[in-house]
């Protein structure tokens, strides 16, 4: 397979020792197996996330995203920007689309960028890692480096919101996207295709500010996974992963449930399937251990 190169936008939560650092670790391992070269956008900054709206406003949010585009365009010419975080992808892609759609906005944005001596001329596609995997490699391509099967593990594919809406992956339906299930099946796992909380919102950033309401969402998501016989939840989004994993103990404490469902990234599954170690897959970063996966990794 020819080496593929992308401008990598890791996002805040994937930084070393941040909440999604296990995502970053496993992504690196996964990319190695697929011969993908990720080059971090030099001196990238935060995307503003969705919750940035309140104080941030429209133009500042677009401008900081444009700063990243400008950096990528200058230093990594011709490469698509790839984000692993759903919110980063969304924030960046939304900014890009608005800039593409309005010369006025582009002008104002460049006026702001000029304050730091930067300029953005409209290049650099913004894509999500999953998009790259499915569109550039395809399920068959992803299967090639596979060394171990995830046979015998039942996964609830929790897609959540922002990798799904409003842009979607690979033209799939918003109400019942199948790509995560297909990925699970590609690596030999059992996908619970009837899992009905697939696209339910986990509460997003409001997990912090509205814990009660968000935990109700999370409870539905985990409970339904149990009801469908899932052993693990797999997700493409760091916020989903964190919310759904982290708050299980809190919900258990408050509501007397006995949730203990591991929540993983697709990249962790793939790293194991590609023969990587538990450490390479970032499994040591789980709050709720994924023992069955660890076992496969150890084989």
């Amino acid at each position: 397979m020819a080496k593929k190169e992308y401008a990598f936008y890791p996002g805040c939560s994937s930084q070393l020792k941040a909440s999604a650092s296990n995502y970053l670790v496993s992504t690196n391992a996964m990319c190695k197996s697929l011969d993908i070269k990720l080059t971090e956008i030099p001196d990238w900054n935060c995307c503003g996330a969705s919750v940035g709206y309140c104080e941030g406003g429209e133009l500042p949010r677009i401008a900081i995203n444009a700063r990243n585009f400008a950096q990528a365009e200058t230093h990594l010419p011709g490469q698509d920007i790839v984000a692993t975080c759903a919110a980063c992808w969304l924030g960046a892609r939304e900014s890009k689309e608005r800039l593409d759609g309005s010369a006025q906005l582009m002008k104002e944005t460049n006026e702001a960028l000029a304050a730091a001596g930067l300029h953005y001329s409209g290049g650099a596609n913004v894509r999500h890692m999953v998009e790259v995997l499915i569109e550039d490699f395809g399920y068959d391509g992803l299967k090639q480096p596979m060394k171990k099967s995830l046979e015998g593990i039942k996964f609830a594919g929790y897609v959540g919101c922002q990798t799904n809406r409003p842009f979607g992956i690979d033209g799939e339906s918003f109400e019942n996207p199948l790509y995560l299930d297909k990925m699970v099946e590609t690596f030999g796992g059992e996908a619970l295709t009837t899992y009905d909380q697939k696209v339910t919102c986990c509460g997003g950033a409001l997990a912090f500010s509205e814990p009660e309401k968000s935990q109700k969402q999370i409870r539905d998501i985990v409970e339904s996974a149990y009801d469908h016989g899932a052993e693990m939840i797999v997700t493409p989004c760091p916020l989903c992963q964190a919310n759904v994993e982290v708050y299980q103990s809190e919900i258990n404490k408050k509501q007397g449930t006995k949730f203990n469902m591991p929540v993983l990234y697709y990249s962790q599954l793939m790293t194991i399937a590609y023969g990587g170690s538990a450490k390479e897959a970032g499994l040591n970063g789980q709050l709720i251990r994924a023992e069955k996966l660890e076992k496969i990794a150890g084989k």
């Binding site: 919750v51 709206y53 919101c161």
Partner: protein, 207 residues
């Protein structure tokens, strides 16, 4: 009343719809809502909203400025985008909600102490400070916004989460003292300041 608010009231008199169209992100689309209610049925926190997006749009058209800008409903938006993908009229509902929240916040009319408003402000300030988000200061900051005592209580309550993440090497206490950040901070700040200046000019926030 804040200065900006006084000016806005004077400028638009009773035409709140026009005010929204000119000053709120994607506000020009509000008039295109056909009141089908699909968005209202799609919100994850729907039952907790006092005014669903559908109602907010109707209220804007009915000129209910104070109720809309004083509502805490916009802050209940989780940015799940369910409404956007389902709206038959393709209104960018999420963005309008964000835009309204931002506008209400900037005019000083948004409800005081609204937790998401506080958190979102904290988030942005945290981001602007370093160019990247510093999760620990963010979470700590958040749990202390309600005053020290309740903050300590919440923080203690959430301790197991923090501790768990810490043990799993996913939360770095050292971030309080520095942590991640953009190298060209000066440039970054200049961009944010300039963008804010342009936007304020455009939306009439400057005197």
């Amino acid at each position: 009343m804040s200065n900006a608010n006084v000016q806005a009231v004077a400028r638009y008199q009773n035409d709140f719809l026009r005010e929204v169209e000119e000053r709120v992100e994607e506000g020009h689309m509000v008039k295109m809502c056909m009141q089908c209610g699909v968005c209202a049925g799609s919100c994850p926190f729907g039952p907790d909203w006092e005014h669903s997006p559908q109602k907010i749009f109707m209220m804007i058209r009915a000129g209910k400025r104070d109720e809309v800008l004083g509502s805490d409903s916009m802050f209940m938006c989780t940015s799940c985008y369910s409404c956007i993908v389902r709206c038959p009229r393709e209104l960018p509902i999420t963005h309008i909600m964000h835009g309204l929240a931002n506008y209400a916040h900037r005019l000083g009319l948004a409800p005081k102490g609204q937790p998401t408003r506080e958190f979102a402000t904290l988030f942005w300030n945290n981001l602007v400070k370093k160019g990247r988000v510093n999760e620990l200061t963010l979470t700590l900051g958040h749990y202390f916004t309600n005053g020290l005592v309740s903050g300590i209580k919440t923080a203690l309550g959430m301790q197991r989460i923090g501790l768990g993440l810490f043990l799993a090497k996913r939360l770095n206490p050292m971030e309080i003292f520095g942590g991640h950040g953009v190298k060209d901070l000066k440039g970054f700040h200049a961009i944010v300041a300039k963008a804010k200046e342009i936007e304020d000019r455009k939306k009439g926030f400057t005197a």
